[in-house]
């Protein structure tokens, strides 16, 4: 959580996730997204994937956690958008990062992304937060 007002260019404390197939099953149940590419290896490969992959929306959930835990309990998330650019597989760390791009009054615009161990940004997005 922030202790001082944010500045342009400030980086959010990194959030590193270590997703497992168990977590994908948990997320499937919690979200209601039971598409088999997230827990059935054979099915995932039959669609041309290297194996089961993370739900895009699970990565969105990680990034929402990154932003809201940094912004604090009084902050309001106004908008949040993510594009899923690359595949992430369980067993591979998913690094969630962000940087403050602009501040106007109490509104901060953040650039957010997930990065794989090779440094590829597998999810990119933006968040608009009202800080109080």
């Amino acid at each position: 959580m922030m202790t001082t007002p944010p500045e342009i260019g400030q980086e959010l404390p990194e959030l590193v996730k270590h997703p497992t197939t168990r977590q994908l099953v948990q997320y499937a149940g919690a979200s209601g997204d039971f598409y088999e590419i997230h827990y059935d290896q054979d099915f995932a490969r039959s669609t041309g994937l290297p194996g089961v992959i993370l739900h895009g929306l699970l990565k969105a959930g990680f990034l929402a956690q990154l932003v809201t835990s940094w912004a604090g309990a009084q902050a309001r998330l106004k908008a949040f958008d993510v594009s899923y650019r690359g595949l992430d597989q369980p067993g591979v760390p998913c690094r969630c990062q962000g940087v403050v791009r602009s501040i106007e009054g109490i509104t901060a615009e953040l650039e957010i992304w997930t990065e794989d161990p090779e440094g590829r940004r597998t999810t990119v997005g933006n968040a608009t937060v009202e800080l109080s």
Binding site: A30, G32, D33, L57, D81, Y84
Partner: protein, 142 residues
């Protein structure tokens, strides 16, 4: 992969569905459902004991639009992206009505063949009749 002829037919049939609305789905937001969602993400912020976390609404989405036609295109679905707009917080105990609309359908050529894009907008309205969240999702057949 779909052939050019079959593929274009699928695209035309889906394009004709633009504006299609799914049924309304009404859900009482329960503490246990929110907790399981937070556990699945690994987000233990105490704020989410009363309020729902930003992506929770996906668990309240209206019935998956009937896009059986889309299954004739490519081999599988991918999620292209999601855009959330927050107008009011959703809290445990709220009753949320979700309804989705197919707003756009288009095709693009990717590096390994055609991609079919379906853009679905879902509106989440609370028990006071006010829109709490709008979600615009991009779903891809490839």
């Amino acid at each position: 992969m779909s052939g050019a002829v079959g593929g274009s037919t699928v695209v035309d049939r889906l394009k004709a569905k633009t504006g299609w609305k799914g049924g309304e789905r009404v859900t009482l937001v329960e503490a246990g459902q929110v907790r399981r969602f937070c556990d699945a993400i690994g987000d233990d912020n105490p704020r989410w004991r009363e309020e729902v976390p930003p992506t929770f609404v996906v668990a309240l989405a209206s019935e998956t639009p009937d896009f059986r036609e889309a299954l004739d295109y490519g081999k599988g679905w991918l999620n292209g992206g999601d855009r959330f707009e927050y107008l009011e917080p959703i809290r445990v105990g709220d009753t949320i009505t979700a309804r989705s609309t197919l707003v756009d359908v288009y095709e693009k050529q990717g590096t390994s063949g055609g991609l079919l894009f379906l853009i679905v907008e879902t509106e989440y309205v609370n028990q006071h009749g006010r829109t709490a969240v709008r979600l615009r999702g991009t779903r891809i057949r490839r």
